[in-house]
Amino acid sequence: MEINYVIDTFFSIFTMVLIILMVPGFAMLEAGLVRTKNVTSVLTVNVMIYALASMSFLLIGYTYAFGGWDHQDSINKYAFFLFQMAFVGKVVNIMSGGVSERSRILPLALFTIVVGAFLYPTIVNITWGANFLSGTVLDISAMHDLAGSTVIHSTGGWALLAAILIMGPRRGRYKKSGAIQAIPASSIPLVTLGAFLLWIGWFGFNGGSVGAISSRENADAVALTIMNTNTAGLAGAITGWLLTYFRYKKFDITMILNGALGGLVAITAGPDLYDIYTPILIGAIGGTLVVLFVPLFDKLRMDDPVGALSVHLVNGIWGTLAVGIFTSDVSLMTQLKGVVVVGAIVFPLAYVIIFTINKFFSLRAADDEQQEGIDYVECGMEAYPEFKRSI
């Protein structure tokens, strides 16, 4: 009916706008987490990702993923596109955030184009889209992944894993003595602002992924989805807080916020399927995983300034499996298969792409460039050139 078309198109636009709030969200989060000397370049990368990933998806990736522009007619096709487009940059954001402070911008731009035109659309194709694997043994379209615990978060996470393995840690992060050099965030207010913008964007991310709101069932599914999304974030924050607090008797806001984000990633696969209490457990485990994996990756000398591996890869996997564990309709094996197939496609592809880019365009900034700061070397612009009122 026309009215459903209208309301669902409106709803799609509304949720798209919320997701776009994640663009400044990621930008502020990452700008806050890096050192002052890398803030401008991190912001530049974030702007560039939005521009290039979206444009590549518009020109190439979208039709590849969905097989054309006219594959549905319940809402306006451009509203549908916009909602899908809002996701694509996130995949690159996850990867770029985790290699902050040591990556050069142009090679990142090349990678962004490849992800927007090809890598991410491939995964969308076989999960939510046209599905060229349909009928083959690799068909994973039965996996329940409402808003992308696997399709988006693990995909970004696998790409990041490949990038970290190729690029190595930031200069000076792991000392010869074996000691780990803490590199504290330059601005906690920006980190907090960014995390909340992401949290709010998540309401659109997951709520909009229900796809429609114009029937009573849809409206119920949307409300339940947003409810559960929020609850998992709350639980992740509380777990991140308690675990750090009991260990150090101090409050570590970076772990509280990362715990919340971990919970949000974990719920993303199936917020529409749980009752309202299960997300507390899923989010709490999500927060716990973040607290455990952040130091673990450090022990493995895998340097991830923003904790993206723990938040997105680990919890993307956990969240997808959780659907198999906590719901009766979806089997754990189906979910596991989805996780594995996506990983088996993304990780090697990303590895080859990043390796090649790094070879020819040197993604990793040299040690002395890192020492000077990427801002100076790549942007010639300081984030805060003056500080007292008067010079």
Partner: protein
Amino acid sequence: MKKIEAVIKPFKLEDVKEALVAAGIEGMTISEVKGYGRQAGHSELYRGAEYVVEFLPKVKVEVVVSSSKYADIAIDAIRKAAYTGKIGDGKIFVSDISHTVRIRTGEENEEAL
């Protein structure tokens, strides 16, 4: 003339300033510095791991006075005002100034202070 440089705990600045003014010192210049010394750096927390910050925030107060007598007065005032008794209270260093000029008037030496 003598220059007194005192590195003190930041929150003692207000007290030190008042003590100097009470002692008749009419001018001073301060800056924010970081100090390394016996006061062990404190441990901070970041992303679920502790680490030690070795350079602690301090304030440096610089006062130029006309004579040793005034220097002693200033040292005394600073010592009392900046004292907490805990490690890291800071140091006072005294050196010689051979010449002073007030930019506005061109007055020199004692008159410039």
